[in-house]
């Protein structure tokens, strides 16, 4: 507030601010630096801060000598599959919760909130037994179903607040013009809800991309393992831990997130506003 008097204040303050920011982001920087160092350089004492030579050998090995690409493919299928299933169901459900009236609607909304906060460990044992019983264990479908247990309540909660912000008059106007309710939904409500749907889809995809517990319990086969448990199994199974390889895998796993941050970040912060403050 008193800052705006002089430019020099702003510079000084920026130096202070950026020191804090860089300290907080140091682990991310260290991940990238480690992934670019030759293996021999990791075990220098004291460690070198910047790599003496930059190498991409770990990335090459990751792709050619480890099942990384299989894990990556599985993670993409999981993220896309979960997002499509959850967003379609949640968009219809949220529209119904916001714009229609029928018995039990209010208690349903409360139920959504409670399940949104429900711990996964409570559901995991019965879900594991269920998947074994119906013969779905060790499949990606079982994981998409399991991810729906936390992603759907979350998506409903988020979309409900987004869709409640769309003025009711819009739908009424469309119907005065002769549209049916479903036409009004597709022609008027849905286009208005697109930013909210994009936010929800991004959050859902990130949740699915990062999930660990269900993947560990339900998947026991390298062919269908996603990145999270796959990379951890690379850590556990090796004789001597190859940190530069693991850091290269970590960087690769974070690339989609970096892309989202670079181009779609406003949808993430908008989601915070809708989901967290109004909660």
């Amino acid at each position: 507030m008193a800052m705006r008097k002089k430019g020099s204040h702003k510079i000084l303050y920026s130096i202070f601010g950026w020191t804090v920011v860089l300290l907080i982001s140091f682990p991310l920087l260290w991940m990238i630096l480690t992934s670019l160092k030759p293996q021999s350089e990791l075990f220098l004492i004291p460690p070198s801060l910047l790599p003496s030579e930059i190498t991409f050998e770990h990335y090459v090995r990751l792709i050619h000598e480890t099942p990384f690409l299989t894990y990556l493919k599985n993670s993409i299928i999981l993220a896309v599959g979960t997002t499509v299933v959850v967003v379609v169901i949640a968009t219809l459900g949220a529209h119904s919760l916001v714009r229609f009236s029928y018995p039990g609607r209010k208690s349903l909304a409360v139920l959504v909130l409670y399940t949104y906060l429900l711990p996964s460990v409570v559901l995991i044992i019965p879900l594991y037994l269920l998947m074994v019983k119906v013969g779905l264990s060790n499949t990606l479908v079982s994981l998409i179903i399991a991810y729906t247990t936390f992603a759907l309540p979350f998506a409903l909660w988020l979309l409900r607040s987004f869709m409640a912000a769309i003025p009711a008059d819009l739908e009424a106007a469309a119907m005065i013009d002769g549209a049916t309710r479903m036409q009004a939904f597709f022609d008027v409500i849905l286009p208005q809800a697109i930013p909210g749907i994009i936010s929800t889809a991004l959050f859902t995809a990130i949740l699915a991309w990062n999930e660990y517990l269900f993947a560990m319990v339900l998947i026991n086969n390298d062919e269908v393992r996603p990145l999270t448990t796959g990379i951890m199994s690379m850590l556990v199974s090796s004789f001597n831990i190859e940190w530069s390889l693991l850091m290269a895998a970590s960087v690769m796993m974070s690339v989609p997130l970096i892309i989202v941050f670079a181009f779609l970040q406003k949808y993430l912060t908008r989601g915070f506003g809708a989901g967290a403050i109004k909660g």
């Binding site: 800052m3 705006r4 303050y13 920026s14 601010g17 804090v20 920011v21 907080i24 982001s25 682990p27 991310l28 260290w30 991940m31 004291p46 169901i89 219809l92 459900g93 119904s96 714009r99 229609f100 009236s101 029928y102 349903l108 399940t115 906060l117 429900l118 711990p119 996964s120 460990v121 409570v122 559901l123 995991i124 044992i125 037994l129 269920l130 729906t148 247990t149 409903l156 009711a168 739908e171 009424a172 119907m175 990130i206 990062n210 660990y212 517990l213 990145l227 990379i231 951890m232 940190w243 970590s250 796993m253 974070s254 997130l257 970040q265 993430l268 912060t269 915070f272 967290a276 403050i277």
Partner: protein
């Protein structure tokens, strides 16, 4: 409903349409949330050996045994220490960094992105980075601290107590404080500037303005943040399991880790379900009390 109230038949039609739209949600909820939830409570009344899945009705024996066991109470205590510790750090860091980003600085939106990033980062990736930095022989942290003269010898950050719990709390704060930053920052930007101007004219200093204006304005948002983050931190599994696995021995084992260990390492599904149900009850009691206390 919105347009006409004239014809009851139209209302009824709309109710049916509304029910059709919500039907997939209800179907999914019943099969993969409500049914497993009831099943978890039911399973907790059995003694079940995981590999054979043979169960025997034991009534409330699982609960009686748990409440009499030291491990349950120790895990609950660990859970409370972890939650209270990491949440306090998240709030302090979160509010401070939000205040910092609220000021005018160069490349502010880039700074905000960098601060936000750890929150969305996969826990697996976060854990790998920190385990590498905390490595006792080649980790950068030990070397920096020794170079600065703070340490004489490398420290085992994750394998001994109390270091393991402290590291856990700290890394949890690093991963989750951006949530506080973003929500508080959004609220800060909506506090009217005129409030500050009036206070400045009355001679209030920086600190007084923070206490008298900023904090009261943040109160509502902080109440929600504390509720959500308490619940999310309390049920955290991935970060703790991957960083320490609950160790050394059970020094950092929280209730979610105990559920997993009972079910899949000790093969006692009935016991595990009982822990899960108790944990859920504790969270429900906390939520109810908290909401009642903060209602006004």
């Amino acid at each position: 409903m919105i347009v006409t109230r004239k014809r009851l038949s139209l209302d009824a039609k709309y109710s049916i349409l509304g029910a059709i739209l919500i039907a997939p949600t209800i179907l999914v909820f019943c099969t993969i949330i409500v049914y497993p939830l009831i099943a978890a409570i039911y399973l907790s009344l059995f003694s079940i050996y995981t590999p054979t899945m043979e169960g025997q009705w034991v009534g409330f024996d699982n609960y009686a045994q748990l409440l009499a066991s030291g491990e349950f109470w120790r895990s609950l205590l660990n859970n409370i220490i972890w939650t209270a510790g990491t949440l306090s750090l998240q709030l302090v860091f979160g509010i401070l960094v939000a205040l910092m980003l609220h000021q005018n600085m160069l490349f502010r939106s880039l700074a905000r992105s960098l601060i936000l990033f750890p929150y969305f980062l996969s826990t697996v990736v976060a854990v790998l980075i920190w385990r590498w930095m905390f490595n006792d022989l080649y980790g950068v942290l030990n070397h920096l601290l020794m170079w600065a003269g703070i340490l004489d010898m490398p420290v085992d950050w994750l394998g001994s107590m109390p270091n393991a719990m402290v590291s856990l709390i700290f890394i949890g704060a690093w991963k989750y404080f951006p949530f506080v930053v973003i929500v508080v920052l959004a609220r800060l930007q909506s506090i009217p500037e005129s409030l500050y101007e009036a206070a400045t004219m009355d001679g209030a200093g920086r600190f007084a303005r923070f206490i008298d204006i900023t904090l009261p304005q943040l109160k509502d948002v902080l109440i929600v943040i504390i509720l959500l983050r308490t619940i999310w931190d309390f049920k955290e599994f991935d970060l703790i399991y991957l960083l320490t696995g609950g160790g050394p021995i059970i020094s950092t084992q929280t209730l979610p880790l105990m559920v997993y260990r009972e079910a899949f390492a000790l093969n006692q599904m009935g016991n595990a379900s009982a822990v899960a149900v108790l944990m859920m009850l504790i969270m429900l009691v906390f939520m109810t009390l908290y909401l009642r206390k903060t209602e006004d």
